[in-house]
Symmetry: C2
């Protein structure tokens, strides 16, 4: 039996709770609007343990959150891309999943990487390098899916860059408009291009 | 002769200087990182006149800067699209111009609208609505250019949404990577699609 009081999170779960809260806030409002006190409040973990886990403060938390959310989305892309669907259908399913997440959150939950990249890539080399490596992991997952369905490597790379760019941009336009038209159009055009 | 001392900006030019400084800062670092004192310093205009021109503070300044930069880019899109080039060449020229601006600024000068949209669209209805209307004006300029070259209206609308989304997303990826590969790939793919 643990000697911790009930409802006191373990060290590991506090660390995880901080990362999850940071990821959610980066996705919804970005880096500069997110304060450490808001992260603590959102995490439910004890404030005193924040600097124990993240002596580098907000920058270190942001990097951890970007890696975590980036890894989850990489797995989701790889899973959709390795489904039995043809290329166009797989890409359509990926856009549908992202559109559903955006609409279901009242147009708050966009990309977990884009906002912080645009804000902080010039100021924080750690944030910039993490964003670059997360985007690269998504591109590789897309490119592998395209190559598994017969595209040669350079074409698959260019199409992966087009698809990821178009999806990222459509998420921005959709948040501004508060409607899904940009994602629907990008879905249709990509599916047609890939068919 | 004016009775103002030499080098004292006029009211109109102070207003304009505040808007230009805000636009540059929104483009490079976003909304939340940009403070009023930084805007004043960047503008060269007298601090005391900031609230005279912009009683609504940063939000009002941001809206004015987004409208100004949005209008300039709308004109640039319309001008490129009404050139003698065919559709693919015109779209290629547009991407080239944006890539040049990004690289020439050391990957600091991205889209003047995207960062502030992702940060503030959920919190500020004025920012969100301005972003939506600027994006719409760019989409219309693209769509008109596509229709003038023979695309029907719904296809031109979808292609405009794809092109703008892909360019916006490629600007994010390029800033993270500090290289132009995403813009080069998007350019090639869009040109091929439109040819």
């Amino acid at each position: 039996m643990s000697r911790r009081a009930p409802n006191t999170p373990s060290r590991a779960s506090s660390r995880d709770a901080f990362i999850r809260a940071t990821g959610r806030l980066l996705r919804q409002q970005g880096y500069d609007a997110t304060g450490l006190s808001e992260i603590v409040a959102g995490s439910g973990a004890p404030k005193g343990s924040l600097y124990f886990h993240f002596p580098g403060g907000k920058e270190e938390l942001a990097v951890a959150a970007m890696q975590r959310e980036g890894g989850q989305l990489r797995s989701a892309i790889a899973s959709i891309m390795s489904s039995g669907d043809d290329l166009a259908a797989a890409l359509g399913a990926l856009v549908d999943a992202l559109a559903q997440g955006l609409e279901g959150s009242g147009f708050r939950d966009g990309c977990p990487i884009a906002t912080v990249t645009l804000e902080a890539a010039t100021r924080s080399e750690a944030v910039r390098a993490t964003a670059a490596s997360v985007f690269e992991s998504w591109l590789e997952a897309l490119q592998e899916g395209f190559m598994a369905r017969g595209l040669d490597s350079p074409t698959a790379r260019r199409r992966a860059l087009l698809a990821l760019s178009a999806i990222e941009g459509a998420l921005i336009l959709a948040r501004a408009r508060r409607d899904l038209e940009p994602l629907v159009a990008v879905r249709e055009e990509l599916v047609e291009l890939m068919a």
